[in-house]
C-alpha cells in the first residue's frame, strides 16, 4: 500500500516524525541513550555474528585452552576447549536475545489480549479468563519447560513457548488492572456514543492508554527472559547443549571459576549490561509514550 504523507519522511510506511518524541526523550537522558546504544550494539552483534565474529564459535584450539582475556589473539580469552569466547558470546546473543524477545512478545500478545478482554467485559468473562490465567500462573514454568523438552526434544521453540507460558499471567494481570480503571473513564462512554463497537473500543481507545505500563513490563520481562533462558541452558534443558547461549556459556564455566573466572564472568557481564540497557531504554519508551507528562500549549 502506498500512502502519500506529503513532506514527512517515512520508513517502511511509518512516519518518522511520529518518533520525534522518542528521539528527544532518548537524546535528553544519558541513561536512556546508554540503554539504547547498548541494546542496539548487542542486537547488531547478534545479527551480524557470522560476519563480525573473529573465529568460528565451534572451532577448538587445544593449544590455548582457557586463555585469559586480553592475553592472546582472543580478546576475551578462550574456554576450556580453546574456543574463542568473544565469538561464542556473539553467537550466544542470537539465541539469548532471540529467545527472550520472541518469548516475551508471545507472552505479551496472549496475556494482553486475555487481560484486556477480561477487564473490559468484567463479570463472568473476567472470572473465567482470570481463573484460566491463575491456572497458568500456578503451573511452575520450569516443569512446563521440562515437559516440553521431554515430549518434543530440545529446541529453540520449546524454550520460547515455555518462557512465554510463564509470562502470560504477568501481562494479563497488568493489562486487566489498567483496563479496569480505563473503562470507567468518560472517553470510553464517549466512544460508545460515537457508535464504536466493543472490539474497536478495546483496541483503539482503551489499549493505547495502557501502553506505557505494558512497555515497562515488556522490558522488565525481556530482561527476566534472558535470565530464564540462561537458567534453562544452565540446567541443560534449554536449546541443544552445544549451541552457545549466554546461560550455557555461564554454566559451562562455573566448574572452572577458580582457574578461569572469565569463562563464566564475561557472559554474566553481558547479561547484566543487556538487562540494564533494556530497562533503561524501557523507561525512556514509557516517558515518550506518556503524552500527558508534557505540559503547556504547543
Amino acid at each position: 500500500m502506498s500512502t502519500d504523507y506529503g513532506d514527512a519522511d517515512t520508513f517502511l510506511g511509518v512516519r518518522l516524525d511520529r518518533f520525534a518524541r522518542l528521539r528527544e526523550t532518548v537524546a535528553g537522558d544519558y541513561k536512556a541513550t546508554f540503554g539504547l546504544v547498548t541494546v542496539v550494539l548487542f542486537v547488531l552483534a547478534a545479527v551480524f555474528a557470522p560476519e563480525l565474529a573473529p573465529y568460528d564459535p565451534m572451532a577448538q584450539e587445544y593449544a590455548i585452552m582457557q586463555a585469559p582475556s586480553l592475553s592472546s589473539a582472543h580478546p576475551l580469552g578462550t574456554d576450556s576447549f580453546g574456543r574463542d569466547l568473544l565469538s561464542r558470546l556473539m553467537y550466544g546473543a542470537r539465541v539469548s536475545l532471540g529467545v527472550s524477545l520472541g518469548a516475551v512478545t508471545i507472552g505479551a500478545v496472549v496475556g494482553v489480549s486475555l487481560g484486556v478482554v477480561a477487564g473490559y467485559f468484567g463479570g463472568w468473562v473476567d472470572d473465567a479468563l482470570m481463573r484460566f490465567v491463575d491456572v497458568l500462573w500456578a503451573f511452575p514454568w520450569l516443569l512446563v519447560a521440562i515437559m516440553l523438552v521431554a515430549v518434543f526434544g530440545q529446541g529453540v521453540w520449546n524454550v520460547v513457548v515455555a518462557i512465554a507460558f510463564a509470562y502470560i499471567d504477568d501481562f494479563a494481570r497488568l493489562a486487566r488492572g489498567e483496563v479496569l480503571s480505563i473503562r470507567e473513564e468518560e472517553f470510553v462512554l464517549a466512544a460508545k456514543n460515537i457508535g464504536l463497537g466493543d472490539v474497536e473500543i478495546m483496541t483503539e481507545e482503551v489499549l493505547p492508554n495502557a501502553v506505557a505500563p505494558l512497555i515497562v513490563q515488556f522490558t522488565v520481562l525481556v530482561a527476566r527472559a534472558i535470565l530464564a533462558e540462561s537458567t534453562l541452558s544452565f540446567l541443560g534443558i534449554g536449546v541443544k547443549p552445544t549451541t552457545p547461549t549466554w546461560g550455557a556459556l555461564l554454566g559451562q564455566g562455573r566448574s572452572l571459576i577458580g582457574q578461569a573466572w572469565w569463562i563464566s564472568i564475561i557472559p554474566g557481564i553481558a547479561i547484566v549490561i543487556t538487562v540494564l540497557g533494556i530497562n533503561l531504554f524501557g523507561d525512556a519508551l514509557r516517558d515518550a509514550f506518556d503524552v500527558r507528562g508534557e505540559e503547556g500549549a504547543p
Binding site: F187, A190, A191, I194
Partner: protein, 375 residues
C-alpha cells in the same frame, strides 16, 4: 418536524438488596428539528438519565416508555448494530467535562477524524485493521479527507489556527477550546440531534457565553437540533427555543422558552425563577430560595414529587400528576393540580414567608393543605 418524541419515559435502576431506584418517571420530551430544547432541573432531577436513555447506553437500567421515537422510528426496537450507526451518525453527545471525555493519548484531530471516518462522507477505510494501523503506527495522513474535515470542523466551531490545534493533545488545550473540540467531534458524523449534557458547567461565564453562541449558530446554520441539559435557567433563557423543567424524575412544566419565562405556571418553576439572583445581593434582602431539598428517588411522596416543598400544596396533590395545557403559549403544559385545562398561569404566584406581601392568591383559594414558610 418532531425529531425526537418520547412519551411517558420511566428509567429504573434495580438495586440488589434494596428498593429499586426510579430515577425518571413519566417524562415526555419532544425535540423539534433545528431547535434548541432546554432540559432544566436541579441535581438528581433525572435530566442526565433522560438524555442518556436516548443513546441507549444506560448500563443496568430498566427503561420503559409508551413511545420513544426518533424520526418516527422506535429507538428501543432497533438492533444494537443499528444503534451503533445512529450513535454519532444521527445523534451525538457532548459531555460536561471535555477533558475526561476526550481520549488523553490521541491528538484531537485524530479523534475528530475517527468520527468522520466512521460516520462522515469520506472515502477512507474505517476498518479495524486500518484504524489500528493509524492509531499505533502511522497516524492519520494530514492530507487525508478525514483529517481535512477534522480541521474544517475545528474552524467551524471557532478554533483559531485549527491546523495547529488538530495536532495537540487534549491536556494542552484550554477548557473552552476542549469544549469546542468536543462539539466539533460531535459534528463529525453530521448528526441531526446533539445531546449536550451540561456542556458549559465546567467553564467560566465568558467562555460559557462563547460556547452557547456557538451552539446557537450551529443550530441555525446546520439545522441541527440540540437537547441542552443544564441547571442554569439563565442559559436556557439565552439559548433555548423550548424548555422542559424537571424535578425529582418528573416533568413539572414545559413550553416555549418565551411562554414559560413570561408566564411560569408551576409553583416549582416560579420558585426557580424567583431564586435567580438579580443585581446587588443586598437590595432585596437575602436571596430567595425554595425551602427544603429534593427527595431521594426512593422516598418520593405519592403524586406530585414537589408536594412537600410546595407552598400551594393541597389535598389533590397526592393524586397522580395531571397534564394541563395552560395559557402560556403554544404547547405550554403545567403538571400541577392547581390548574384546570386552559387556566391562565398568571393568576398563581409564589408568595410565602419572606417575600409574601399578604395578597390572597388563587393558589391559596384552592385550599392548600399546608402552609410552607421560608426557612
Amino acid at each position: 418536524m418532531t425529531l425526537l418524541d418520547v412519551e411517558d419515559l420511566a428509567v429504573t435502576f434495580p438495586v440488589e438488596d434494596g428498593p429499586d431506584v426510579p430515577a425518571v418517571d413519566g417524562v415526555d420530551l419532544r425535540v423539534e428539528q433545528g431547535k434548541i430544547h432546554g432540559l432544566v432541573g436541579e441535581s438528581g432531577s433525572g435530566k442526565s438519565v433522560t438524555a442518556r436513555s436516548i443513546m441507549r447506553l444506560l448500563d443496568g437500567a430498566e427503561v420503559s416508555a409508551d413511545r420513544f421515537d426518533y424520526r418516527g422510528e422506535d429507538l428501543y426496537a432497533k438492533s444494537e448494530a443499528e444503534m451503533r450507526r445512529i450513535r454519532g451518525d444521527e445523534i451525538a453527545m457532548v459531555f460536561q467535562d471535555a477533558l475526561s471525555a476526550l481520549n488523553p493519548v490521541m491528538t484531537v484531530g485524530e479523534q475528530i477524524a475517527e468520527v468522520v471516518r466512521h460516520h462522515g462522507d469520506v472515502d477512507e477505510s474505517a476498518g479495524l485493521l486500518s484504524e489500528l494501523r493509524r492509531k499505533y503506527v502511522t497516524g492519520t495522513n494530514e492530507s487525508a479527507p478525514s483529517w481535512r474535515r477534522a480541521v474544517d470542523l475545528l474552524e467551524t466551531v471557532g478554533i483559531p489556527d485549527p491546523e495547529e490545534i488538530a495536532t495537540s493533545y487534549p491536556h494542552q488545550l484550554s477548557g473552552g477550546q476542549r469544549q469546542r473540540v468536543m462539539i466539533a467531534s460531535a459534528l463529525g458524523g453530521d448528526p441531526s440531534l446533539i445531546v449536550a449534557d451540561e456542556p458549559t458547567t465546567a467553564l467560566d461565564v465568558t467562555v460559557e457565553a462563547g460556547i452557547l453562541d456557538e451552539l446557537r449558530r450551529l443550530c441555525d446554520e446546520f439545522d441541527v437540533a440540540i437537547l441542552l441539559i443544564t441547571h442554569d435557567l439563565g442559559v436556557v433563557a439565552e439559548t433555548c427555543d423550548h424548555v422542559t423543567v424537571m424535578y425529582s424524575g418528573s416533568v413539572m412544566e414545559r413550553g416555549t422558552t418565551a411562554g414559560l419565562f413570561e408566564n411560569p405556571a408551576h409553583p416549582y418553576t416560579k420558585g426557580l425563577l424567583r431564586s435567580i439572583p438579580e443585581g446587588a445581593p443586598s437590595e432585596d434582602g437575602p436571596l430567595a430560595t425554595i425551602p427544603g431539598s429534593a427527595p431521594e428517588p426512593t422516598e418520593r411522596p405519592a403524586g406530585c414529587p414537589f408536594r412537600d416543598r410546595c407552598p400551594a400544596a393541597f389535598d389533590a396533590c397526592s393524586d397522580p400528576l395531571p397534564e394541563h395545557v395552560v395559557d402560556g403559549g403554544e404547547g405550554h403544559v403545567a403538571r400541577c393540580h392547581l390548574y384546570t385545562e386552559g387556566d391562565d398561569p398568571g393568576e398563581v404566584t409564589w408568595e410565602t414567608g419572606a417575600t409574601a406581601n399578604g395578597e390572597a392568591t388563587d393558589a391559596a383559594d384552592r385550599t392548600p393543605a399546608t402552609e410552607v414558610t421560608d426557612g
